[in-house]
Amino acid sequence: MNLNRQNKIHNGKKQMIWLSTPYIGWSLLFVVIPLCMVLYYGLTTDTWSFTFANVTHITEPGYMKALVRSVELAVIATIVCFLLAYPLGMILRSMHLSRNGFIITLFILPMWMNFLLRTLTWMTLLEGSGVINGILNVLHLPNIHIINTPAAIVLGMVYNYLPFMILPIYTALNNIDEDLLNASRDLGAGELQTFCKVTFPLSLPGVGSGVTMVFIPALTTFAISSMLGGSKIMLIGNVIEQEFTSLYDWHLGSGISIILMVVIIINMMLNIAFDAKEERQAKSIKGGKR
């Protein structure tokens, strides 16, 4: 009887493993194979012979410039997001919200509006005869002319991706034990020293994932730049989009995508290394408590 039940438990466990196989199949088909296809297209000519030309095509002035500009704008947008989000995270932390705070939800709410519409509205706000200039006129202030400039694109990126920075930073800050900060003050550190030596280093994992979650979409966007940039400013995302949707050069488009993938893979490897470290630490805490 007992043995029978033991068997049953064992079988139950075995059955559980099978639960994950559909997804493994799914991810092979819809994640791994498609990426291999991008590699394949990117490394071949239209007669399917091997070449690096599509990848090295990035060195052409037009493409290089788009890549450099993308990196520039994405870095600026990421920094701005960080500078806006970090103080907000500190403020939210100091408010001691309940876990599912309504305020946090309010930061996600705009995402339910279509992201293109939200971006489009910025066109309305920023245009030469738009809302903001209307207000500035009433106040007799000089008008701003940032629509169709890189500044407008950065604004669009910041606006769209700010929640991705706020949430992880807030979570990381909120997880810092208040007593760690007290300990720092207790040991003679002032507010600034406490921030630099304790708060900030401990919030770095949140900052890290926030930076990733803002930088990558900002680096690769094409909708924001084409809407707020008046198609005057090409980002690497626009280049890839054009190769696929209007220039019909899938090999070149894939080749340039490979460059993006390399950036992302480096990022992922850093994440994995970091996770592994984190897991080891977590394990040792458990071990220590035992």
Partner: protein
């Protein structure tokens, strides 16, 4: 003081986040169609919204995809997480890392990779492909939410349940699931949000004639957005806001126990709502996919704003054929789409050089002129010109023709406009609109320098590119269909535009004037063609024949005001001023013109590279 600053800062961020949304809601009550002007309060757009089949259909598409993707991905994601707990560490790590790919990877790469996959598998893109794509990028979000809780799950409860004689399924339902519900719901919500908000991946995996809100909005942004969309967004926003308040605030007011019940009720209500939406959504989805007219379907692919929409209805009524009508912005976009799936559309309206390219790449089929008796209405000279790109007139029937010129606002430009040079004049900095299309833009620079617009001379192209780069700071924006509205709205002084728009824009804004510069320009013909792998060949012929009918062509001319090659239709024009208008029907012998030719792959890439260089210059 510190508290004040905190509050103030938070308020600023909230204003930043919500100001655009507020603007959007205000715009939804704006009687004026233009975003820039306030034309008084109206509820018109809300009324129109519910009568607009396109938008409502798109809404259902979006919702049904989001809900189905959420349900499926939540299920797969949860089940996978549980299964992975029993896998060994290495397997788990590998699977989790693969699962993270769509989340970490750039959307655009995910999008194109899936597009390549569907293309290779010869899957017809549409509802199914979008759904699969959404499930693929939703699952990681579900797993992200569920995995941590599964890890801390007390395995003993499940084993204890088995030990007490429960079946695995029963044990799972009673011992495991209750603990997981909160994270499953959170993951599902995240998946739903991601799915609703996605544009890029949908954009690359959608098929012909199938739009979600995102893709509809993206294409409308370029043509000018319909105010109904604002109304719809306002409704969505208010609904979501309302739901959130319901879930978050009301339970706090009630007593604890009641609240829990209340929350359950709300959850149930939301679930019912979702399920209804799904079923309706899937019904409509099936509806749009399968509801064929009694005489079959016809997929038409035409330029934006290039037909009188009433004519589509008229055609459907007369023939009983169901028309699925899509629009493209440039020849290149159209070509990419057709090359990807040559059966995506049956009847298409490309320009001359592109027709040549399509013929050479075997994307078109020869027409059966016995089915197009109305083709005789097309003037002889147009058939002759067509020979340059369609030798023997086997593949195409001319639809419209015209030139490329400068539209300028007389109140802003005092001087006489007779040269492309004016587009390089510092005086008009920020007041110039250029065409966002490789051939047209380079044509202007080439012709200005006295070269052919079909040159394969690298130096000439380099010179043209450098000129365009020099011009760039003066350019307000590179646009296509928006030139018309921006010029009418006095937002620019000079714009490059097709001759067909001249009459319409002058009607709307008498200050506008159209000229063809002395250096010469491109003359173009857009013609109807039928795709090689069309599945509705007979209907496609019927469409072409219909469009060639004198009364139809005339009605269309009245609406789009592009020069028609249809002599019979021209005879029907009552207004002699227009009938003999130099702009509507220019005498090509008095001006220097050149048609575009297909240049072959290598030269094409050269053009593209130069254009890319211009676009990405500072």
């Amino acid at each position: 003081m510190k508290k004040f600053f905190s509050r103030f800062y938070m308020a600023l961020i909230f204003i930043f986040m919500y100001a655009p949304i507020l603007t959007l809601i205000v715009l939804s009550f704006n009687a004026s169609k233009s975003r820039a002007k306030w034309g008084g309060f109206t509820l018109k757009w809300y009324v129109d919204l519910f009568q607009d089949e396109t938008i409502m259909g798109t809404l259902w598409n979006t919702l049904s995809i989001a809900i189905l993707a959420t349900i499926i991905s939540t299920f797969i994601g949860t089940v996978t997480c549980i299964g992975l707990m029993y896998a060994n560490k290495k397997t788990r790590a590998i699977v989790m890392n693969i699962a993270n790919i769509p989340m970490i990877n750039a959307d655009i790469v995910t999008g194109i990779s899936l597009m390549l996959l569907f293309q290779a598998m010869h899957v017809t893109t549409g509802f199914g492909t979008i759904l699969m794509a959404h499930i693929t990028f939703d699952i990681p979000f579900v797993m992200l939410s569920v995995m941590p809780r599964v890890k801390t799950l007390n395995q003993n409860t499940y084993e204890a349940a088995l030990d007490l004689g429960a079946t695995p399924i029963y044990a799972f339902r009673k011992a495991v699931l209750p603990e997981l519900w909160p994270v499953i719901i959170a993951g599902g919500l995240m998946a739903f949000t991601m799915s609703i908000d996605d544009f890029i991946i949908t954009y690359f995996t959608k098929g012909s004639g199938y739009e979600t809100l995102s893709t509809l909005i993206y294409s409308e942004v370029k043509r000018g957005i319909q105010p109904e969309i604002y109304a719809l967004s306002a409704i969505i926003f208010v609904a979501v806001m309302f739901l959130l308040i319901l879930v978050n605030v009301i339970p706090k007011i009630r007593s604890d126990r009641k609240a829990r019940r209340g929350r359950k009720k709300i959850a149930a209500a939301v679930l019912v709502l979702c399920l209804t939406a799904t079923s309706m959504g899937t019904l409509t989805a099936c509806g749009t996919n399968s509801s064929t007219g009694k005489n079959g379907k016809l997929y038409v692919y035409n330029w934006g704003e290039y037909i009188d929409p009433d004519l589509i209805d008229q055609f459907e009524e007369e023939t009983g054929i169901d028309v699925i009508y899509d629009m493209f912005e440039t020849n290149e976009v159209m070509y990419a789409k057709m090359a990807q799936d040559s059966s995506a559309y049956d009847v298409i309206c490309p320009s001359d050089y592109m027709i040549n390219k399509m013929i050479e790449n075997d994307l078109l089929q020869e027409l059966d002129f016995s089915q197009i008796p109305n083709a005789e209405n097309i003037g002889e000279s147009y058939w002759t010109s067509s020979e340059t790109f369609d030798p023997g007139n086997k593949y195409s029937v001319p639809y419209c023709w015209g030139t490329v010129g400068i539209l300028y606002n007389k109140t802003m430009v005092d001087e006489e406009v007779n040269s492309w040079d004016i587009l390089w004049d510092d005086k008009y900095s920020g007041q110039i609109l250029m065409q966002d299309s490789v051939r047209d833009a380079l044509m202007i620079a080439l012709m200005r320098n006295g070269y052919s617009c079909n040159t394969d001379d690298e130096e000439a192209l380099e010179e043209a590119a450098q000129d365009l780069i020099a011009q760039k700071p003066l350019v307000q924006a590179y646009v296509v269909d928006q030139v018309r509205d921006k010029m009418i709205g006095n937002e620019a002084a000079l714009g490059v535009i097709y001759s067909g728009e001249a009459i319409y824009t002058q009607q709307e804004n008498p200050d506008l004037e159209y000229v063809v510069p002395d250096e010469g320009t491109n003359v173009w013909i857009d013609s109807w063609v039928i795709s090689k792998n069309s599945k509705n060949v007979e209907n496609a012929h019927k469409w072409i024949n219909f469009m060639c009918r004198a009364d139809v062509a005339y009605k269309n001319f009245e609406y789009i005001t592009y020069s028609t090659p249809n002599e019979a239709a021209r005879e029907l024009i009552e207004d002699d001023a227009i009938k003999n208008s130099e702009i509507a029907f220019p005498d090509l012998t008095t001006m220097k013109t050149e048609a575009y030719q297909y240049l072959g792959t290598d030269v094409e890439r050269l053009y593209n590279d130069k254009w890319m260089e211009v676009k990405s210059a500072d």
